[in-house]
Every structure is written in C-alpha cells, then in structure tokens.
Symmetry: C2
C-alpha cells in the first residue's frame, strides 16, 4: 500500500487523492501553506489523515521560522496554528493535532528554537506512527463484531488513505480478514467525490479483499433484500453524546440500517471524539463548492447556473449507532457514560 503522507527530506509529500486511482501522483508541500491548501482542496482527506497532515504541516511551518527567541518563535507558530485549524471545519482531528503541536511548543518554553523545531518534527512523526498503531487496535477491537462470513457496507473511504495507514472502518475489515474471516465489502460510490469508487474499491482490490461498488442510491434496496449484514463507517467528529458527524449520506445509511435491523458501527480514534461538543447539532458542517456536484472534472453535467447545495457532512443521531469502535474499546448506548469510560482507560 502506498503511504498516505510522509516526510521526504525537508518537505512533506502526500498522495494526491483527487487523482486516484487513475494517477498515482505525489503532492509535495514545501511550507505549511501548501499543507493548508492540500487539506482545503482535498488532496488529502479523511479525519485522521487530516490530523496527521496538520501536525506535519505545522512542523514544516516551524522549520521555516527564522528567529532566535522562543517568544518570537511561539508567536509565529501560533499564527500558523490559527490558520491551519481553519483549513476545514468539521473533522475535529485537525484541531486535535494543532492543539497537540501547540501544547508541545508550550512545553518547550525557554528551550532553544532549533531544539523546539526538531521536537515538533518528531512529534508529527509520532502522530503518524501512533495513528497507524491506533488503527490496528481499532481493527482488533472491531473485528470481534464481524461474523465469520459477512457482507459489509461502507460509505466513503475510512481506509488507509483516510488515515496514517491501515484505516478505521477498513481497518476493522482488514483485521477481520487477517483473522481468517470471509468478509466482502459493498462500497457506496459516495458522491460527490466518489471516495467509495475511487479510494475504497482501489484499496481493497490492492489488498485482495472482495469489493463491489454501488451508487449511494442502491444501499437501502440491498439492505431491504437482506444482502447487507452490517454497516461500518468512519467519523469526522463524534459529540460527547455519541452523535456522529461523517461524510454526507452517512445519516441515511444509518436510518436505513436501523429500519432493516442491521447493525450500524462507527470506527474512529478517540481523537475524533470532541468532548467539548454535547450533541451533534453543535458540530459545524462544511458546505463546499457547487462545482463539485455540477461538474465532472471540467464537464458541466447539468444546466448552466443551476442552484446547488453541497453539504460535505451530516449528523447521525446516536440512536442509530449500534456501537462506536475505538482503540480503547467499544462504546454502546448510553453513549455519554460509555464514552467517558473510554477516556479514563
């Protein structure tokens, strides 16, 4: 599997996910502004991957600060952090990573600037390594919920490409396969970006895990025909009460799963849980450009000037969520207490 993102000398490079799977192309970031742009433009996407990118981006930015005093360094760093955190609003992992990097700068108070810079670069590498490790733990915890033979529906891409590696939802699928279970995946194509068709199918085919792509419209019908055994998705932000913000369309899949008595699981690291947000309706939902829907590449699909509404995420109330799978264990309803317990582990 190609790495999602990595240090390459004094630059950070990432696979340009807008071009997958047709082209495997590196997008090289020389400064933190390149990373912000990459996040905004969805060169890299997926909540955990955005977190890793933000960490690396700030380390990259820190390396470019040419001052001698810690105070001046900290000022400049905080300015960069303030910009980085605004790159995309919904995935909380971005803010989480920025705060983690800022805390490290605080902890280095009085230290040499170069030492701080080195520490920040190292921290960004740690975030990446930890993310992969966390995903493997999520996989291990989650695969216990997967029957020996199951058809698993997933929405969007919560795989290796959405994370430092291995994946959250697809991490559970991978762990089930590693445990010898015969899982097969149905991937929603996931409009408007086609992450299911372009990324999830690509990843799973590379790994030799059977995958079939459907339009987002067909998921419910397959559930109604008893052709789906369980649903598993990632998350962009989870509120303290277990409400889940995730790729637009997730709410629908969850409602349809409940209506058809199919378990709906969410796999995500604790860094996706925002304890400062009581419920899903307080999570900011990003609205993106109409062109993502009205055009395919540069071809205009619909009538010129058509009005488009393009929310990138939706909120799934906790009552539709069968369980949230994290690296620290599995939370079930009542979520508020269950999530609190995970953080104490």
């Amino acid at each position: 599997m190609i790495p999602t993102i990595e240090w390459r000398g004094k630059t950070v490079r990432m696979i340009d996910q807008r071009k997958l799977p047709g082209k495997i192309e590196w997008y090289t970031c020389k400064g933190y502004k390149d990373v912000i742009k990459a996040i905004e433009k969805m060169v890299i996407r997926g909540a955990p991957a955005i977190g890793v990118a933000a960490g690396m981006g700030l380390a990259l930015g820190a390396l470019s600060i040419r001052v001698r005093s810690y105070e001046k360094f900290k000022d400049r760093f905080e300015e960069m952090a303030g910009r980085m955190v605004k790159a995309r609003p919904t995935a909380v992992n971005l803010r989480w990573a920025v705060e983690r990097m800022s805390l490290l700068v605080d902890a280095m108070a009085g230290k040499d600037v170069e030492e701080t810079q080195r520490a920040l670069k190292k921290e960004s590498e740690t975030i990446l390594a930890e993310d992969i490790d966390i995903n493997r733990k999520i996989g291990k915890n989650g695969q216990r919920l997967i029957p020996k033979k199951a058809t698993i529906l997933t929405h969007c891409n919560a795989g290796s490409l959405a994370t430092g590696g291995y994946g959250t939802a697809l991490g559970v699928v991978r762990a089930a396969h590693e445990a010898g279970k015969k899982g097969e995946v149905i991937a929603d194509e996931t409009r408007p970006w086609f992450q299911g068709l372009r990324l999830t199918a690509f990843e799973l085919m590379e790994d030799g895990i059977p995958v079939t792509v459907i339009t987002d419209n067909a998921a419910g019908s397959l559930m109604y025909q008893n052709k789906i055994d369980l649903v598993i998705t990632g998350a962009d932000r989870i509120a303290a009460n277990g409400d889940v913000a995730n790729k637009i369309g997730t709410y629908q899949v969850a409602v349809l799963a409940k209506e058809n008595k199919i378990p709906f699981y969410v796999a995500a690291p604790l860094s996706t849980i925002d304890m400062g947000i009581k419920s899903g309706d307080m999570i900011p939902v990003e609205e993106r450009q109409p062109k993502e829907i009205s055009h395919f590449r540069n071809y205009e699909i619909g009538p010129s000037g058509v009005k488009i509404l393009n929310p990138a995420f939706d909120i799934t109330p906790n009552k539709y969520v069968t369980a949230i799978i994290t690296e620290k264990g599995i939370a079930k309803s009542p979520y508020k207490a269950a999530i609190k317990r995970l953080f104490k582990k």
Copy 2:
C-alpha cells in the same frame, strides 16, 4: 418546453435525453428497431414516455410491413410487438402500450392493411395526447395535497421529459404553481444517470420554478433538518397492493420521509399500475451495465476492473407511501381496495 417525442413525417423523433441539457439534439427513428434501441439506450426514458415511444415505434413498424393480407400483417406485427415489449423490463407502461396497439390490430381483423396502419399511427398519437391530458389531471388532483408554500423533494425525473408532456410528479408541482402556490423543488441528482441534475433542474429552470440540486446523499440530512415539507416521485410500475417500483434510491427517500414524518407521494397514471402483480417483490428489476457507474462519459472514475452492481430500480413497500396520485383520483392505504376503486371510476 421541447416535446419529448413526436411524429415527423414518416419518422418518429425524440429529444436525445442522454445529451441534455448540454446539447438539444433530435434522435430520429426510421423504423421500430430504432425505437427499441432508443428505449434500451435511454435516449428516451421515464415510464409514460417509454409507453408513448413503444406505441409510436409499433406504428412505425406497422407502416413498414409490406403485405396485403391482414393475417400476414398481424403475424409480422406481433413479432415486432414481442421484441418491443422486451426493450426494458420494469416500466409496465411499455407493455401496456404494446398491448393497446395489439388489441387495436385484433379489432381491425379483416380490415384493409393500409387502414390498419393508419389506425395504428393514429392510436399512437392518441396515446401521446391522452398522456398529456392524464398528466394534467394528475397535476390537478395532486396539487390539492401541496401546501401554499412548500419545499418539495423529488427523485429522478418524472417531468415533461419522462412523459408525453407536463409530467407526473413535476405535473403536480406545475399545477401547484399554476394554482399560485409558492413551491420550491429540491432535486436529487439521481445517480448514475443524473436525471435530477440534467433533466429535472433543466425543466424547472425553463419553467421558472425554483429548484436546487443536491446529491442523493443529502436528501435524508435535509429532511432531518426540517428543510423538506413533502416528497413526490413518479413510478415505473405499481403493484395491485400499492408497492412502487421506481428509480433506484426511491425506497431510501421513502424510508427517510417516514422516519422524519414527511409525506411521501407517488404520482402516476393508471397505466403504471399492474393489477396482475400482487406485490412489489414480483416486479422485475432491471440491472444495467456497470459502465454507467464506473465511467463518466469515457472517463474511468474508479479502479480498472472494479466489480459494480447497478440495479436501475428499487421497490418501495406500500407502508412508506402516503398516497398515490392518479388521473382518476388519489389512493391511500389500504391500497388494494383503493386502487381497485380507481379502476372502476
């Protein structure tokens, strides 16, 4: 509004709906096989429009039969009818129109071949005119269900282009507008063919009715946010118990409407109701080419060789349907009795 389909001298021509709205191009059929191809390839689509096309296609075929005896004519005609009826399996209007044309041939027993040919051409024109008239009646009946100010979600295109003209679901929207109601439409883009983005938005913009396009993934979220007042779709076949076969994704919209306590209406002519089919699970659902999903025009979106499942329709059980709006009135649950009553009117 451009006509969906019309006679043009000795040919039948239709707007090539695959190319809308970018190109307004006529597709001219010189023989019945051209019409079959046009239906198969979705040059023309929408259950009532397919019915009209089948009628015109058979009239076109009949005109090409060069025999003197009625018996020989009938044999040749029945062969054509047998081919026509197989063009697409789900929309029952196709079979309905073929049977209507065949019955006319039966009724002309012993008559002159030329007279029969003329009668068939005239019958195909009658089917078209009746369809427009029926849609206006559906509109009139249905608009009573529309509040003075409403945001109406629709899926696929059940408009002028899906019928002889005016439309079924969009006929209701048009009638509401003509009655001075301030309706605004949210159109699902409707993958994989984008009928919502390409056709519904195009039609409504031409008519000056406000329309906003969303991905199919966003419909549920808007309902959850109380941004949709009612849903209205067309149908490709309705079983005697009120189960509805319609464009893939309709089932999902109906379940989500019910979950969010929003009325879900189906607008269709009686010719869409198949009294020979007891329930939805007996309706044949067409599966179409993977390329409709894996490619956009000739551009391959996903990984080469990816497995795709492409059902073109789904079944919505009657329990999710608030009412079925027809030219003879409105049917509500219990549907079996209500539908029977409509046929007796």
